[in-house]
């Protein structure tokens, strides 16, 4: 009685704040927590029922781990995992090196107004959707009209059917991903460089350090915490691919699936085209669980390294 009374009293004293979180809490309930509960479909033979969402879930038959067994017995699970992890790994490594390098270059440019102009140019890709980027790529790679085949023509080479030649796509996707992300990321690093105490450079100058030594001894060490944190966070997301990049840019071309299919596109196709609800949910759950473990692990490492920058 006392406990319930105290609880009600707490509710009353906090009622304004509780009302404030209410809309958001309801949203999280429907768009985040109910879907979490819905993952039990992965352990069921999903059958759609007219009586609605809950009935569909409860009336479907339990099949234990069969959906997972089936998923991992095909080659798909291996291919999509390999593609997702390898692409993300390459994006993380190259993205880090190039963004930091570009940020340092930008910070050193003497004419600050020009540096701003460059920065504005680099930021543009961040504002465009993957659909638009898909069109951009097409203007270069179209078989009969694309610029790349025209250039190949000048050298007397045969035009290439880009959208059906799988071997080129790991490079194309990497370039496109870097093109879209680097400008944005280098701005983050540039902001950090601007925050470095100028007197450190002054002291280094007096000690006779040249530019290269300054970068090595001051800029890079000062950026190291940010680099570490952003990289570890990206590693935590290594199981999640950018759906737009892998779906829009290759124009959903079937002949390219071996190198463009990632967990996210696989799950989408399972839902919309093949209709394997149970197995597709299993693939999604596999992604969420491994993703969760990776986020927790990388956060644990960030925490050990630098408590202030840990996510939680």
């Amino acid at each position: 009685m006392g406990a319930i009374g105290r609880f009600l009293k707490n509710i009353m004293t906090n009622k304004a704040m509780l009302l404030m979180v209410l809309p958001g809490a309801i949203w999280f309930l429907f768009f985040s927590y109910l879907p979490m509960f819905g993952t039990i479909i992965a352990f069921k033979e999903y059958r759609f029922s007219r009586d609605g969402f809950l009935a569909s879930i409860f009336n479907s038959e339990w099949v234990g781990f069969d959906n997972f067994k089936f998923l991992f017995s095909t080659n798909d699970a291996y291919i999509i995992t390999r593609n997702t992890v390898l692409y993300n790994f390459v994006f993380i490594v190259l993205g880090l090196v190039l963004s930091v390098a570009l940020a340092i270059v930008l910070s050193e440019i003497v004419n600050k107004r020009l540096a701003k102009v460059y920065q504005t140019g680099m930021f543009l890709p961040y504002f465009l959707s993957w659909v638009i980027v898909g069109y951009f790529v097409f203007s270069f790679l179209s078989y009969d009209k694309g610029m790349l085949n025209q250039i190949l023509g000048w050298f007397g080479a045969e035009p290439i059917q880009w959208y059906s030649e799988a071997k080129y796509w790991p490079i194309i996707l990497t370039l496109v991903s870097l093109w879209k992300a680097i400008g944005y990321n280098s701005v983050v690093y540039l902001a950090a460089i601007m925050g470095i105490d100028k007197s450190l450079y002054e002291a280094a100058m007096i000690d006779g350090a040249n530019k290269w030594q300054q970068i090595k001894a001051i800029t890079l060490p000062m950026l190291k915490p940010l680099m570490t944190i952003l990289t570890l966070l990206a590693i935590g997301r290594i199981f999640y691919a950018d759906f737009g990049l892998f779906y829009q840019v290759p124009r959903d071309s079937g002949t390219l699936y071996s190198v463009t299919n990632v967990i996210d596109t696989y799950v989408y196709r399972g839902l919309k085209t093949t209709g394997e609800i149970g197995m597709t949910t299993a693939a999604g759950l596999y992604q969420s669980v491994v993703g969760f473990v990776l986020v927790i692990t990388s956060n644990y490492i960030v925490r050990k390294y630098d408590k202030d920058n840990a996510l939680f």
């Binding site: 979180v21 979490m36 993957w130 898909g134 610029m147 902001a191 530019k211 609800i277």
Partner: protein, 305 residues
């Protein structure tokens, strides 16, 4: 330091050669970032015939406004898509700001007894999610969002990451003393929020508003999942549908006298690129002004409580 009379801020200036090198690197990369857009713009102004013989060129043999003329003639579908996108962007951003501003304010207040619970309630969704299929089933079967304009609005309305950014912003830019003074004057919590807190946190709210505007304008994924009705197709999604065939825009043109004849003579390639330009235009024109806020937002997000 050869120049002893250099101004103090020049102390670590690059030498001339290195400076040219740095300008070249940054300039070339910046140009590569902008070039594809310019290229598509040029293609859209190319004459269809010279395009058919020469392909996409930086300097076309013959310029033409034909593509834009056709797009505007058969443009009912385009106009409707603009309408859908603008509606979704405006309404979505308002809803999103309203919900996020209230939620993050509440969890930023130390006097709120359940702040830790609700912080975690939001935060946990960044760590674990149900995945696409259950989300789709909840949205279509339980919430009935299939072929509804709300399918383009609700899924993007709340974002735990924005809540974290804004919570940090409140706790750094709104001093407790101001809230206390409001309390002493007898203002209710809601009055304190909109009379005192909102004016102080406008930069933070503007940042989140811009992030969310961009998110809504560029969204095509929710349309891909939930929208089949041609009347509800937003711009980005329309661009996807005409990717392989311009037929979509003709089928949805109310101007039925045009249809077959127009389909024959439609400058397909250039029209498609003209649509890309028209759909991207507002963002490309506005982004240099937004950029400042985005950088501010990134900096806010980087500072932790």
């Amino acid at each position: 330091m050869s120049k002893s009379n250099a101004k103090p801020q020049d102390f670590h200036q690059l030498s001339k050669g290195w400076n040219i090198g740095a300008n070249l690197i940054a300039g070339i990369f910046a140009f590569l970032c902008v070039f594809p857009f310019l290229f598509v713009l040029i293609i859209s102004f190319t004459d269809e015939k010279s395009l058919a013989t020469n392909g996409y060129q930086i300097i076309p043999e013959q310029w033409s406004l034909e593509a834009y003329k056709y797009v505007f003639q058969t443009g009912d579908a385009l106009l409707r898509s603009y309408g859908v996108t603008i509606f979704v962007t405006v309404v979505g951003t308002l809803i999103s700001l309203f919900v996020i501003a209230l939620y993050s304010y509440a969890v930023s207040r130390k006097s709120f007894r359940y702040r830790n619970f609700f912080s975690f309630f939001a935060f946990f969704t960044m760590l674990f999610n149900g995945g696409l299929v259950p989300t789709y089933i909840v949205a279509t079967q339980l919430l009935g969002l299939k072929d509804s304009i709300w399918a383009l609005i609700w899924p993007l309305a709340v974002n735990a990451f924005y809540i974290m950014i804004l919570r940090t912003f409140y706790s750094t830019s709104v001093p407790d003393a101001i809230i206390e003074s409001g309390k002493i004057d007898g203002a209710s919590e809601f009055k304190i929020f909109y009379k005192l807190v909102i004016p102080l946190s406008l930069p933070g709210l503007a940042t989140i508003g811009l992030f969310s505007t961009l998110g809504y304008w560029n969204d095509w994924f929710n349309a891909l999942l939930y929208i089949d009705d041609p009347d509800l197709v937003p711009l980005q999604s329309m661009l996807m549908r005409i990717e392989t065939s311009m037929q979509f825009i003709l089928q949805n043109s109310q101007n039925s006298s045009l249809s077959m004849a127009a389909l024959q003579s439609l400058p397909q390639d250039t029209s498609r690129m003209a649509m890309v330009v028209l759909a991207t235009g507002p963002i490309v024109l506005a982004y240099p002004f937004f950029q400042r806020y985005f950088i501010q937002g990134l900096t806010i997000g980087a500072v932790k409580e």
